[in-house]
Amino acid sequence: MAGAIDLKDIFFVEAEELLSALEEGLRAIQTGAQEADTVNAVFRAVHSIKGGAGAFDLKPLVNFAHRFETVLDALRGGQLQPEPALLGALLHASDHLADMIGASRNGSETDPELDERVILALEAQAGMGGHKEEEAFVFEPLALDGPFGMDLSALPLASLQRKVVLTFRPHSGAFASGHDPAFLLRDLCGTDEVEIELDQTALPAPGGFDPGQSYLGWTITLQTERSDRELLAVFDFIEGNCDLHLEAEMETPPDPDGTLPEPNRAPSPVVTASAPVTPPPKPVAAPKAPDAPAATSPQPAASASAASTGPRPTIRVDIDRVDRLVDILGELVIHQAMLTEAIEQSPGFGSVEVDRSLDQLRQLSRQIQESVMAIRAQPVKPLFDRMHRIVREASMAAGKSARLVTEGENTEVDKTIIERLADPLTHMIRNSVDHGLEKPARRDEIGKPTEGVVKLSAAHRSGRIVITVQDDGGGIDRDKVRQIAIEKGLVPPNAELSPQEIDALLFLPGFSTATEVSALSGRGVGMDVVRSEIAGLGGRVGIASVRGQGTTLTISLPLTLAVLDGMVFEAAGQTLVLPVSTIIETLRPDIMMRHTLGRTDSVLDVRGRCLPLIDVGAALGFRRTLKPGEGEIVVVVERGDDGAIALMVDGIRDQRQVVIKGLEANYGQIPGIAAATVLGDGSVALIVDPSDLEAIGPNPPRPNVFLAAE
């Protein structure tokens, strides 16, 4: 079947949703926040996973889900109480179910012994013996396909024909269950030669006739090769709603499947009226059941309904198509800039119409951009939901008690960013549980609740997305951090460090504070990895901590990875771009505002606040010293959480939207440079990352960069 692969994809997407509904429901039950339907919803989630898995013949998954569902059914029915131990086992089973689905999505399977252990643990907790299940779950679809739609032209040998007499009388209420005797009779006849006799003796007098009741009976005589079982199968559904009797002249012949077919006999149903009172069934059925299903179909609304097949007008689109749209949009923005530049330089420029049209074009392309970004934007909820499991596992492994509280789950973030946030966020959460929270005994000692809280929140703040991971643990032990950093040679022993600087040491490569290195946070993979992953998204990580009260990690990210508002400026003959969102102000400073620190460093006094002063041209290695007329303009930009730096530039060109072109894929990471872009004149300009510039310092080694624009 052509669509089979797509269907499986749909199943996995749906399973993902069902899994989070399952987990969310179980958590709600655990915290007592459940609503009336929560247990049902949890049951349905597992049930639907079982149904879908069955459709794709994923047997281990079906078996696991079936047994899981049996426990949930008992919980739903009140035979089981949602005690903490049972909920723990249920959550564990739900985590394992997620693993199983993840594995089958990748075309593999989880260890069957582990599957069995997890489900047995759940069944033991629920007081159910895994094997005393009354019957194993069977995949076999009900054998419904009788002779219908099968190849009836391939009739078996004539000698197997026999005479069968069937009497059939629907109960008076049979129509109410949607049965139509006319259909059944037609099915029964198939291609055989039949005689049908109508019994209308039960018809009431005209006055007492109810069209909703069935009054008729039939005696059908068939010359057939079909077995009794096959003939009776026609009446499967109406069974219990009719009187049915079968009398055969000869014993049931073997099923026709194995016998040799005869050449086509061009059979057609032959209905012989054996008595004047026996009309073919159809005309009889029609008047007595005027609103039988066959008669209901021609309704005027039928055509209108085809268009409105669902109440919610949403479509699912392949992400590649949206990405393609974003790419094209990027090109559009570049060409719009080129066009604007070309027109502005042409002799005819200055006409009001042209100016207005250009302005309109600019606005339209911005609107398209916003609309496309809105398509890719998704709430962070699924990502946040996954973190509950991380907290569960991390706290169990570390012998701690912790719960995750989430906030702002509906904050929408570009899908690409969400995907790339999963790893760093997982790491940060594990860190919070592992290193942030105290052990329950310790918490008890100092009067905190034994259960620690990790709070994960998301919010939009001034054109950026801010995600925080906050724990209520012991905070950073700065003396210890400092000592470790000195031991590891990361800072000189006599270094004077501010609390913020000490906290920042945690982000240095190879730093690990846990005295006992746990299996979870691992060795070597530290916050430096988190930092570089976030930096790869154009974001920053900050850390703040209060001793005894906890630590807060903050990620700040751009809304999109595709386009940014940039300020185009010149430094050392280069055209560069600064993200507008980072710019606080632009000024032309007086010489008196500048103060020198030591031999090379200088600061700028901006209304009493001293900011590090950095020459962008020198920081990026384009020049060593300033010539007269250079570096006279200062752009104050924010870096990280609180501070700001002053950047010396030679001139400011304009402000515009620029399309971000990553450098990593084609060149590599350059300190101080976030990405590149193509300007209106076709030249390449580098996008400066101010927070990184400061780290390079004013006199860096000269980076090996040669610009295409030169």
């Binding site: 079947m1 797509d6 269907l7 749909i10 199943f11 749906e14 339907d37 049902n40 049951f43 349905r44 049930h47 639907s48 079982k50 149904g51 879908g52 069955g54 459709a55 013949d57 069977v138 995949f139 076999e140 679809p141 009900l142 054998a143 419904l144 396909d145 009788g146 219908f148 739609g149 099968m150 129509f175 109410a176 269950s177 949607g178 049965h179 139509d180 259909f183 037609r186 099915d187 026609v234 499967d236 559904f237 219990g240 709603n241 609103d291 039988a292 299903p293 066959a294 209901t296 179909s297 309704q299 609304a301 039928a302 209108a304 309904s305 085809a306 409105s308 097949t309 669902g310 109440p311």
Partner: protein
């Protein structure tokens, strides 16, 4: 005119499967997500047959069958239950509610189509 089927299932996978299978078989398919959705669409769709899941949020299959049978839009339309359940008690409950027939999931395409043809008689 092709047979019009209202297929009700809360699982997207199942709906998509039914849509593909039934459309390929030449039926006209309208999908609904749960009992309430199915019931809401019923007057517009005027189906020749309803195919419904049992376990669904908002209104389950039993509720739907009872509502259709008790309503005056299409009280006699054949209703086939399509579900992973195979317990005899549930089958009996569905029969009591007024279901016309029963198909156990996972269905095989051929038997699903032939059962529909048989019940709605094409």
């Amino acid at each position: 005119m092709s047979l019009r089927i209202l297929a009700i299932d809360d699982s997207l996978t199942m709906r998509e499967m039914l849509r593909q299978t039934l459309t390929e078989a030449g039926f006209d398919v309208v999908l609904a997500e749960d009992g309430i959705d199915g019931l809401t669409q019923l007057p517009d769709v005027a189906p020749d047959l309803i195919l419904t899941d049992l376990n669904m949020p908002n209104m389950d299959g039993f509720g739907l069958i009872e509502a259709v049978r008790a309503g005056d839009v299409a009280p006699r339309v054949p209703i086939l239950v399509l579900t992973t359940e195979s317990a005899a008690t549930l089958k009996e409950r569905a029969r009591q509610a007024g279901a016309t027939g029963w198909i156990t999931k996972p269905f095989d395409e051929h038997s699903l189509v032939s059962t529909i043809r048989r019940v709605a008689a094409v």
